[in-house]
């Protein structure tokens, strides 16, 4: 009886591991094993080479694969030559003959399975859907020595070679669906169509590659550029999962696979690490099996169990593979060029949302295509942004030059203790995720305590660590609950502000800016920790305390150029002008402002550097405000400005 072996020409495992459907890496897309639908993102021409070595006791190296790809519009074509995709089995048949009465010669059988080349085609239907197919050519060489009697004057035996070459083609299809940037799927066939030679020699029947039909489904989840998850499940119950990512042009991943024809349950790992630019890509990967591969296998085991895959089976050895890919653009595929970028603002990490409204850089782009394009500008700054930050799309007519803004989102949790010079990478994209053009510029990223001197931006320091201020303020207020409860409800804001100030000043000392400039501001918790600060620091800390308990504040910016610039605080007592007499007999000690509902409210200026008591700080605040803001018409001339915190 002829045994039926499970020799499947394809499962989804390949030599680079599985990177999902991401377009940041191109090498794995020459692997029809996990990519039978020929999805790739090379813009024009692509060339790939895989060179590898197998650790089979000795170090055997060879070229595994040579691939070429071409994109024409939405059509993608590829071809690969796979000289290294072969597995040869050499066995003793168990028969032997005696030569010259003394020498015994064992008879041998040789079975070689090769995948020689493949072709791929795919069509991108839209940004979400792509489908394709691959056609692969396999060759099977079977040789077996047999003994044949020769009848003559003397009967003698001769050995003779039986051989047969069987070729066949196989075709598979697949479809890719991109639900969004983070979730992608693939459905593909395994051994969908097979056609070729059938064995004619009885001895070789059953040894040919069996083409069991199946399918696999793959899913990829890409929450971050630097961390992605991929999973493939085959209907044969084999599966593989991988963790991959890319950061700063480095790509990396590790794939674990379960093969129902191999032991143990997780049969091996495929780690990979590479580097890529728009022009080339280098990837070093390996296949490591957990089971022992050093023992020679006997024919009986091969006879009993067979193999399932040419490049990945129970007889495969650990491998190391170096893959190279080259992206060649013979035609100007890109549609826009980034001519220049001008950074117009320094980066202050604490102003985390400022660059959402105010671009930190402008780029000049030109549409070099013959059609109207929608350009998406984006920027990435090492250590500042989490991935690329996209700005709104800009429509550019053919041949036109346009200026595009680059906005930023800075992580609120960013900690920058000192100023650093970082690289800002600017990109312009038209259709794909692959940028049409990019430019790198150095960008100064200030420390988190840096301030640009604009009082409006002190609000960022006030709101930072608001939890700290809230806890601090609430502790003080709860300690004085009895006093607050005994007062008129109308005086709630005023008395709270007074209590907080009086506790605040007990712990504070006025110190000039440690860096002798206005560009350094302490966060409230730092001011409390250091037990002091200059006018900016003290005003920020006091405002933060008041705001944390719901008292509206404003900063008063005194820009008198004859003296040092000064900032102090004004807060809203929520009293009406008629109720002002509850807090003072002197109507010069408060200031009336209209709220959003056009209602007059009493505001009180406080000199935060007067670290004596609330009454004194109020008087000093009033004197300065009345003199410089009102009597000298500072508010009208712009020399004094009231800046609302919220």
């Amino acid at each position: 009886m002829i045994p039926s072996y499970k020799i499947l020409p394809q499962s989804s495992s390949d030599l680079n591991g599985y990177f999902g459907l991401q377009d940041f890496i191109s090498i794995p897309f020459y692997n029809y094993e996990s990519n039978p639908d020929n999805f790739f993102n090379t813009k024009d021409w692509g060339i790939s080479l895989q060179y590898g070595a197998e650790f089979s006791g000795s170090f055997n190296s060879s070229i595994y694969l040579l691939g070429i790809s071409k994109r024409i519009g939405n059509h993608s074509l590829s071809a690969r030559y796979t000289p290294g995709f072969q597995k040869e089995f050499l066995f003793s048949t168990g028969e032997s003959i005696v030569v010259n009465d003394t020498t015994t010669q064992s008879l041998e059988a040789n079975y070689t399975y090769k995948e020689l080349f493949g072709l791929g085609y795919s069509y991108k239907m839209n940004e979400q859907l792509s489908a394709g197919l691959s056609l692969r050519f396999f060759e099977q060489d079977f040789n077996q020595q047999i003994v044949k009697p020769v009848f003559g004057d003397t009967l003698y035996l001769v050995t003779e070679n039986l051989s047969e070459d069987l070729n066949f083609w196989k075709a598979d299809i697949g479809i890719d669906y991109f639900l969004n940037d983070q979730l992608q799927f693939r459905l593909a066939s395994i051994n969908l169509l097979n056609f070729g030679d059938d064995p004619t020699t009885e001895e070789f029947q059953g040894f040919e590659i069996k083409q069991e039909r199946g399918a696999f489904i793959a899913a990829g989840f890409f929450p971050y550029n630097y961390l992605n998850f991929n999973f493939i499940y085959e209907t044969t119950s084999s599966f593989q999962f991988s963790t991959t990512g890319n950061a700063n042009k480095f790509v990396y991943g590790v794939t674990a696979f379960h093969d129902q024809y191999q032991e143990p349950y997780i049969a091996g790992l495929v780690p990979s690490f590479g580097y890529r630019t728009n022009l080339f890509e280098v990837l070093l990967s390996g296949v490591y099996y957990f089971s022992d591969r050093t023992n020679d296998a006997g024919f009986s085991q091969f006879y009993e169990e067979g193999i399932d895959n040419i490049i990945n089976n129970r007889y495969s050895y650990n491998k190391i593979v170096l893959s190279l890919a080259l992206n060649i653009s013979s035609t100007p595929e890109k549609k826009v060029e980034l001519i220049d970028v001008q950074i117009v603002r320094e980066i202050y990490p604490t102003f985390y949302d400022m660059y959402l409204d105010k671009p930190f850089a402008y780029g000049k782009i030109v549409n070099i295509s013959s059609e109207q394009v929608k350009v998406t500008p984006s920027v990435r700054i090492e250590g500042i942004t989490e991935g690329n930050i996209n700005s709104p799309q800009v429509l550019v007519e053919p041949g036109d030059t346009s200026t595009v803004p680059f906005y930023l989102i800075i992580s609120e949790s960013l900690n920058m203790e000192r100023a650093t010079l970082s690289n800002a990478d600017f990109y312009v994209n038209v259709t794909s995720n692959q940028p049409d053009d990019e430019m790198q510029k150095p960008a100064l990223v200030n420390s988190e305590n840096a301030w640009d001197g604009n009082v409006v931006n002190l609000r960022y320091f006030i709101s930072k660590d608001m939890n700290f201020s809230m806890n601090y303020a609430k502790n003080i207020l709860s300690e004085n609950k009895n006093i607050l409860d005994s007062l008129l409800a109308e005086l709630d804001e005023f008395e709270k502000a007074k209590l907080l100030f009086n506790e605040f000043v007990k712990k504070m000392t006025y110190v000039s800016d440690p860096r002798a400039s206005v560009e350094y501001v302490q966060f409230p918790n730092q001011t409390f920790e250091l037990k002091g600060g200059d006018c900016d620091d003290l005003s920020v800390a006091y405002c933060s305390l008041l705001e944390s308990v719901g008292i509206q504040t404003a900063l008063v910016d005194y820009k008198n150029d004859l003296q040092l610039r000064h900032v102090n605080v004004m807060f809203n007592t929520k009293l009406s002008p008629e109720q002002a007499a509850l807090i003072t007999n002197n109507d010069s000690k408060y200031f009336i402002r209209k709220n959003e509902q056009d209602i007059d409210e009493v505001w009180v200026p406080i000199e935060t550097t007067s670290l004596t008591n609330f009454g004194e700080a109020w008087n000093l605040g009033v004197e300065k405000f009345n003199r410089e803001a009102l009597n000298e018409l500072g508010l009208a001339s712009g020399k004094v400005e009231i800046v609302d915190v919220y």
Binding site: P577, E578, A580, T584, N585, N586, D587, S588, K589, Y590, I592, R593, K594, N595, E596, Q597, D598, D600, W618, N619, V622, E623, N626, R627, L630, N631, E632, L633, G634, L635, A636, S637, K639, D644, Y646
Partner: protein, 236 residues
């Protein structure tokens, strides 16, 4: 061109402010004569003190007179008389030019602009139209400090400091909103604006006054002033 105009305007403002600030620091106010109950509130003090003849007053203080009382002040050689039931801040006893008055009015407008929170506030959604209570005159006594301030502002005008008087009155309206409803004072200060040739500002005031409860005589005067000003501004 726009840049040039802006630069010119800013220089003009700064010049006014510099001259104004210099004139402020040069002021000396001395009490020449006191009759009756005259009190002085110094700087940020909470306590009113009796004013004595020959006393020098701080520029950031207040002076207030009771019924049948008056005070004569010497302001850099010029005599100022503040009559009964009046209150003035010493800093408002000063000569101002019309340009300075315009700047001060612009500042008042700026201060009176509602704080913007970036949201559209509908105000009272239950009642449409003007809130009538706004125009209802609350009975203000002669001793009400807001009324005393308006009296003081009128005294300033009567002493030839009409520009300062308008600024002081405006500040009074802001701090004592009820006083805005007293039409007679409003008309008095609107007339000053008219007399100074600040027609647009005067028209704005008259239009506001028109919404108040007015006597027939006041109404006729205000309507007439509005008509005249409209004609003047149309022909400008």
């Amino acid at each position: 061109m726009l840049h040039k105009i802006k630069s010119g305007f800013i220089i003009q403002i700064l010049s006014i402010v510099l001259v104004f600030a210099a004139s402020m620091s040069a002021q000396q106010i001395q009490v020449n004569k006191v009759a009756g109950d005259v009190k002085y509130l110094s700087g940020t003090s909470e306590v009113w003190a009796k004013v004595k003849k020959g006393e020098a007053l701080r520029t950031d203080g207040y002076i207030s007179t009771g019924k049948n009382s008056s005070v004569h002040l010497n302001h850099s050689g010029e005599l100022i008389t503040i009559g009964e039931l009046s209150a003035v801040s010493i800093s408002s006893i000063k000569k101002m030019t019309t340009d300075e008055l315009l700047l001060a009015l612009a500042m008042e407008d700026m201060i009176n602009a509602p704080k913007s929170n970036g949201k559209e506030n509908s105000g009272n959604t239950a009642v449409y139209g003007e809130d009538e209570s706004k125009n209802k005159i609350t009975k203000l006594g002669a001793n009400d400090f807001g009324i005393k301030r308006l009296n003081g502002a009128m005294q300033l005008a009567e002493n030839g400091l009409s520009e300062s008087s308008v600024v002081f009155a405006k500040e009074t309206y802001r701090k004592y909103p009820e006083t805005k409803k007293v039409a007679s004072y409003r008309i008095f200060f609107a007339d000053i604006l008219y007399d100074k040739g600040l027609y647009a500002e005067a028209l704005g005031e008259y239009l506001e006054i028109q919404k108040l409860e007015l006597s027939k005589e006041q109404k006729n005067k205000v309507d007439s002033s509005i008509n005249t000003l409209n004609k003047i501004l149309l022909n400008d």
